[in-house]
């Protein structure tokens, strides 16, 4: 394989990886705060993508409005799901919460199938054009996607470390009881975490749509699972970890495809997940939690 081809594949991987990273951030934040694997997270992307599609294709709204709508709807949906399905189960056994998340995920997917139809909806790409970097042809979409993700990660890290809200989030994820005793509003902090995570998913959906220009009811599930693998790989609960994980998974997939094994792409990702969970379950940057006896 030539060098420029390799670079092209790497950029491809970074692009997909950026979307994974954005979604992984949402997974990581939610898991960090209420220890829930929000299976429905990936499906929020799907809803966001459909919003963009309908806004542009059916209502001919300008792209910028569509994007804002998508992010807004994603955020609202995420918070709504949290309030209706997860909050009542906050003191329930983890198994119940996990099953509910699975239920919500399926509800969204099958509901979307009923409402939007099971077929894929295509639309014109939002960003076109490319630029030559050395000998490699890099699309603007790829550059924008990667840039947006990195910027968001920096902003998020700043927010979590420097703002009061961020401090509240960190406190709640460390010790829910103690945080409450310190006067931190549990409901508000958790809702905000979901809101931010879902907003990121919304942004991710827009970027995904820019790259793949297709929306289908099940697009969120595999994307979500892979993003979750990315979150675990990077260390669940860690923001830079989600980024690293996302890029790693994206590049891994690109390399596997480039090597001619694209049918085994999914299996490769899951294999990585299994290896990580068995040998270093805390991932690259995660922390270990001890159970009290």
């Amino acid at each position: 394989m030539t060098f420029s081809l390799l670079i092209a594949q790497l950029i491809n991987g970074l692009q997909t990886g950026s979307v994974y990273a954005l979604v992984a951030l949402g997974y990581s934040m939610v898991y960090g705060i209420i220890k829930l694997l929000n299976f429905a997270h990936g499906d929020i992307i799907m809803v966001g993508a459909y919003m963009v599609y309908y806004a542009i294709a059916s209502f001919a709204l300008p792209p910028i409005v569509a994007i804002v709508m998508a992010v807004a709807v994603s955020t609202l949906l995420g918070v709504f799901v949290e309030k209706v399905a997860y909050t009542p189960l906050r003191s329930a056994p983890r198994l119940s919460l996990l099953i509910t998340a699975i239920g919500v995920s399926f509800l969204l997917e099958n509901g979307a199938q009923l409402v939007f139809g099971a077929d894929q909806k295509s639309m014109d790409p939002l960003i076109t054009g490319s630029v030559m970097l050395g000998s490699v042809n890099v699309s603007y979409v790829a550059l924008v996607t990667i840039a947006v993700s990195v910027v968001i990660m920096i902003l998020l890290t700043l927010m979590v470390n420097k703002t009061k809200a961020g401090k509240a989030m960190r406190a709640v994820s460390e010790d829910m009881g103690a945080a409450q005793l310190m006067g931190i509003s549990l409901n508000r902090t958790i809702s905000m975490t979901f809101a931010i995570g879902s907003a990121l998913a919304g942004i991710g959906s827009v970027l995904y749509l820019c790259a793949y220009t297709q929306a289908s009811p099940t697009m969120g599930s595999m994307l979500g699972i892979k993003a979750f693998v990315a979150a675990v790989l990077g260390g669940i609960g860690s923001i830079p970890g989600a980024m690293i994980g996302g890029f790693t998974i994206g590049v891994l997939e690109a390399l596997v495809a480039a090597a001619g094994f694209s049918m085994w792409k999914d299996a490769a990702v899951f294999l990585v997940l299994i290896i990580v969970l068995l040998f270093k379950p805390t991932g690259f940057l995660g922390r270990k939690i001890q159970e009290k006896v």
Binding site: R94, N110, I274
Partner: protein, 361 residues
């Protein structure tokens, strides 16, 4: 008077009679239904397969207390193993010739092979996966399930010859799964789960679910029992897969997606994790209902997911909770209640007689 207790040998007789009765009822129903008989037969067979799937998943979900999301993978492995074996036997010709009796030994071997292959996979996957807990176990089993599916889809290109036929499907599998076959194997599977749980091994598994740390502190070999429950569950799923292959006649990897594992999970959760009866009822209702309400089938998955969420919110223990049905126990309770009522009546009559006497004097 001493409490009315049904002795164990009698319980076995009662249960055997009931099972034979059920078989008679079902067979008569099918033959009496005329043209629709074939249709009902298909539903009953599917119900039987789903019962085995749900109750086997219940072993790890309800009894062990874990949440594996790769059950469809074990079903797939069993299905393909059984199918490939049966295709290599003269079963197809025997069935065509109407010689059902001669096929039986092949069926038994196929089921055993499916169970063993699925069991091996269960062991390979269980050993690493069971080191993890909760969410991580869920995700890793999901991962394994998906890997199995991808491997089944693509392995022919690696092997260089047609083994599973991948996405184009493994066809022309002898259709050996009759109503009798399914009835027998379903009954056997339920029996095996029951006798396993009503033993020191079953107690150990339940104790791990209730409190793993305490179980270790009383000397329960938790690694052994977790793995055993997992492998047992996988083996039964393999049996279900084999019978499924023998019913449908062709296999496609897309049947065994993550979605299938979730469908089975829904049955277990709605029925009550830890209740075999709950899983059975759930399997029956959730298989039959879409057929009974044809227009329902479009909304099937939406209703499933909604039911799942609502059940978790309002009745997290499911329909039956951890209730395990026993005919013998139910009869004992009924007799006890009748006697108590009789005693109360007699006491009341005695009081009234006494009052009447006092009034007289």
């Amino acid at each position: 008077m001493k409490a009315f207790k049904i002795k164990t040998p009698v319980r076995y007789i009662i249960n055997t009679v009931l099972v034979a009765l059920l078989w008679t009822v079902l067979t008569l129903f099918i033959s009496g239904a005329g043209l629709k008989g074939e249709y009902y037969r298909g539903i009953l067979i599917t119900i039987g397969i789903n019962i085995i799937l749900a109750t086997s998943l219940n072993v790890v979900c309800g009894y062990l207390g874990q949440l594996p999301l790769g059950h469809a993978g074990f079903m797939a492995v069993g299905a393909y193993a059984g199918a490939i074996f049966m295709k290599s036997t003269p079963a197809a010709q025997l069935l065509r010739a109407g010689n059902n009796a001669a096929v039986i030994p092949y069926i038994i071997i196929a089921v055993i092979i499916s169970a063993l292959v699925a069991g091996v996979f269960g062991l390979l996957i269980g050993i690493p996966a069971l080191r993890l807990k909760g969410d991580y176990l869920a995700i890793i089993t999901l991962g394994f399930g998906e890997i199995i599916r991808v491997v089944i889809t693509n392995i022919d290109s690696v092997l260089g010859f047609k083994f599973t036929y991948g996405a184009s499907g493994l066809a022309r599998i002898p259709k050996f799964t009759s109503l009798n076959v399914i009835f027998v194997f379903t009954a056997v599977c339920l029996f095996l789960i029951h006798v396993f749980m009503k033993s020191r091994h079953g107690r150990a598994v339940l104790s791990i679910r209730d409190n793993e740390i305490a179980a270790e502190s009383v000397g329960i070999n938790t690694t052994f029992y977790k793995t055993t429950a997992f492998v047992f569950s996988a083996m039964l799923a393999g049996v279900a897969g084999c019978l499924y292959a023998g019913y449908i006649g062709s296999l496609y990897p897309s049947t065994f997606k993550f979605m299938k594992s979730i469908e089975i999970l829904v049955m277990v959760v709605l029925g009550g994790m830890g209740s075999m009866l709950g899983s059975v009822i759930s399997a029956v209702v959730l298989t039959a209902l879409p057929e009974v309400l044809r227009s329902f089938s479009d909304y099937r998955m939406v209703v499933y997911s909604l039911a799942l969420v609502l059940m978790m919110l309002f009745r997290p223990k499911g329909l039956m909770g951890t209730y395990d049905f026993s005919m013998g126990n139910s009869i004992e309770k009924i007799v006890a209640r009748i006697r108590a009522r009789k005693k109360a009546k007699e006491a009341k009559a005695a009081d009234e007689a006494k009052e009447a006497k006092e009034v007289k004097s």
